[in-house]
Amino acid sequence: MTVVACLKWVIPRVDDDDRFAGISAADQSALEFALLSARPGEDVVAVSAGPLGAERALRDAVACGLSRAIRIDLDPRASSSAVASSIASAVAGARLVWCGDYSLDRGTGSMPGFLAARLGIGQALGLIDVTIGDDSMSVVRRLDGARREIMRVTGPAVLSVEGSTARLRRASLRGVLAADNAIIDVIAGMSSPIDAVDEKPYRPRARALAAPSGTSALDRVRSLTDAGTATQRSETVVLDPPEAAARIVGALRDWGYLG
């Protein structure tokens, strides 16, 4: 069996200077979980779909202790669906596939979902906490409205994690030296059965908002920015710790911070 980490190599600059390229904090967390979750005897494989430069990120990953690295030769602008199809064909049969929840280049976070569909395995996406047990993992997923979902993962699955979930280990010096000569398997990318045919620059749709209330400009600015409301809400009370905690939770609920 194998455990896979999917890493997207991104140049986060308008001038395309690839010296500043790298993988996101979320992908680094994914790599760390891949290394942590592998059982004895299992291979840990990193996959990156991208241009030649991506091999640098793969070598850094190899230095952290991977068994193997694969680069799928694919145009960096390929759709999430095409990336998922290519990765799925390279890692079929994997027990766990770890991804970051979003890539650095304003990703939509859709690739892991596509990947689970192509591999025909389960998915647990947008994770904010992961506890690895012997036979299963307990994971916490972020939902809208500050809600959480706790799940147990037992079978093969694609998991996507947020950047704060784990800190990637520092590669050993021996690892770094050896990774320089590591062989990176390169395979050709696949086209996807579903693909975007027309790509336009990202322009969020305009939304109509109600005009702010108030007669003076200052009042309207206050109502737009909520300025001053926080201080009006403040209140000093002296309570025992349990009562104080209950009061805080109640206030947060009233103000809409808790579901």
């Binding site: 010296r19 520092r170 050993s172 010096l173 770094v176």
Partner: protein, 438 residues
């Protein structure tokens, strides 16, 4: 002593600045196994300087370097400017020959230049390890340096020779006991702003076109803190900075950014940079005292090169360090490779490194100019001469009709007295200068 082939490398070079990359190129070309360790994510990412390199020393290491080196502009105009509070006297030289191969000086960004140079080292066979900081030396029972410790797990590496190219204030050279006590008055603080302007505006203001560039060194204009300044042109930015004597800066309680702001407002400088946007502010220490602060260059198993060995020439009209770093690095790499081949990496076996430095411009220039940094940074040259010189020139060129033109000798005498300079001091400084610049 470790068996040489049991070591991780023949030569470990610490720091992939100009000194380190050239050391690595030279040692790798000689067939040695070389590991080049850099703390930044890529070579040059952490490095700053004023902005002009004189790469002719690369003729040996990277033939036709000018075809691939990441140059901003080729320097075809060099000016030395003496600033009083409101006046400026410039000596300006232009040579279009400097804009043709093999060129003279070039402006370049360090992240580009250092990274390019490190690629030459990798092409020569050196192994480059980035994002790794050397934290100490490994020594054997006899005290000989046998490798380095890094900040990575499992991070010790052994080698026959360590070449310390870790820049100014080298803690490796200090750890090896090559420096005597550190004296802050041997150092200056260099601060620089990178100012963005459209290329055509820079071309017009500095009287250049295409890839031609300008190098202006400044004496005075540092708000009474002993030091100097510089203005260099890149393609679409200007590097403007000051170099300040550390003890004076501390004593006068002035902030370097205020001194730069005052220089930028000087009537001779302001029009050059008007409308420019500050892109970057950076600062770095310079081993200004040159020859008088140099360490012992070799010890058993280790040599030191570049700024780490204080091989930076900061002598008024010259601010050169990169070329000295490249040359000393090259000599260190060659000497280390030869010592490994002879299987004698003791201080004696590595001594040809010092001989090479002595035989080339590296130590010869430093020896010849050893009195110049002290002279240039002296209170008289800094505080009184700029006002004296500019007021002499002002009076020579001022037309005060109907008064007849005054004689030059009289003006000099009057202005010298007004500036509080004794004739004996002027003669002494002139003589030191003549001998120094000789």
């Amino acid at each position: 002593m470790n068996r040489p082939d049991a070591n991780d490398a023949d030569v470990i070079v610490v720091g992939a600045g100009p000194a380190g990359s050239c050391a690595a190129i030279a040692a790798a070309r000689a067939g040695r196994r070389v590991i080049l360790i850099e703390r930044g994510p890529f070579p040059g990412s952490k490095n700053m300087y004023g902005g002009v390199v004189y790469p002719r020393i690369l003729d040996e290491l990277v033939p036709r370097w000018w075809e691939t080196a990441p140059v901003q502009r080729w320097v075809v105009r060099r000016s030395t400017m003496i600033l009083s509070e409101t006046g400026a006297l410039s000596v300006d030289y232009r040579s279009n020959a400097w804009g043709q191969p093999p060129y003279n000086g070039a402006t370049a960004y360090r992240p580009d230049f250092d990274e390019w140079l490190s690629r030459q080292a990798v092409a020569a066979g050196a192994q480059l390890v980035t994002s790794t900081t050397v934290t100490g030396l490994l020594r054997d029972a006899s005290g000989r340096v046998v490798g380095v410790r890094t900040d990575r797990p499992d991070g010790d590496l052994t080698a026959s020779v360590v070449i310390a190219c870790d820049g100014v204030n080298s803690f490796l050279a200090k750890e090896a006991g090559l420096y005597s006590a550190t004296d802050p008055s041997n150092f200056t603080l260099g601060v620089k702003e990178t100012l963005a302007l459209p290329k055509h505006v820079i071309d017009e203001r500095f009287g250049v076109r295409d890839d031609q560039g300008v190098d202006i060194e400044i004496l005075g204009g540092t708000s009474g803190v002993n030091g100097g300044g510089f203005v260099y042109t890149n393609l679409d930015t200007i590097a403007l900075g000051v170099v300040l004597k550390l003890p004076k800066l501390a004593a006068q309680k002035k902030r370097p950014e205020e001194i730069i702001a005052t220089l930028k407002a000087h009537p001779a400088i302001a029009p050059l940079i008007e409308g420019a946007e500050v892109k970057e502010y950076s600062a770095h220490v310079i081993p200004e005292a040159g020859y008088s602060m140099m360490p012992t260059m070799v010890t058993d198993g280790m040599v030191v090169a570049g700024d780490a060995a204080a091989l930076c020439l900061a002598a008024g009209i010259w601010l050169e360090g990169v070329n000295f770093a490249m040359a000393s690095g090259m000599c260190a790499g060659e000497a280390a490779a030869a010592a490994v081949a002879r299987n004698d990496v003791s201080a004696k076996g590595l001594a040809p490194y010092t001989d090479k430095l002595n035989a080339t411009f590296v130590l010869r220039d430093h020896k010849k100019l050893r009195k110049v940094p002290g002279l240039v940074l002296s209170d008289r040259v800094q505080q009184r001469y700029p006002a004296f010189v500019t007021s002499v020139v002002e009076r020579v060129f001022r037309v005060d009709n109907p008064q007849p033109k005054p004689g030059l000798r009289r003006i000099v005498r009057q202005e010298r007295k007004r500036a509080g300079i004794k004739l004996s001091e002027l003669i002494r400084d002139g003589w030191t200068g003549l001998r120094g610049f000789g």
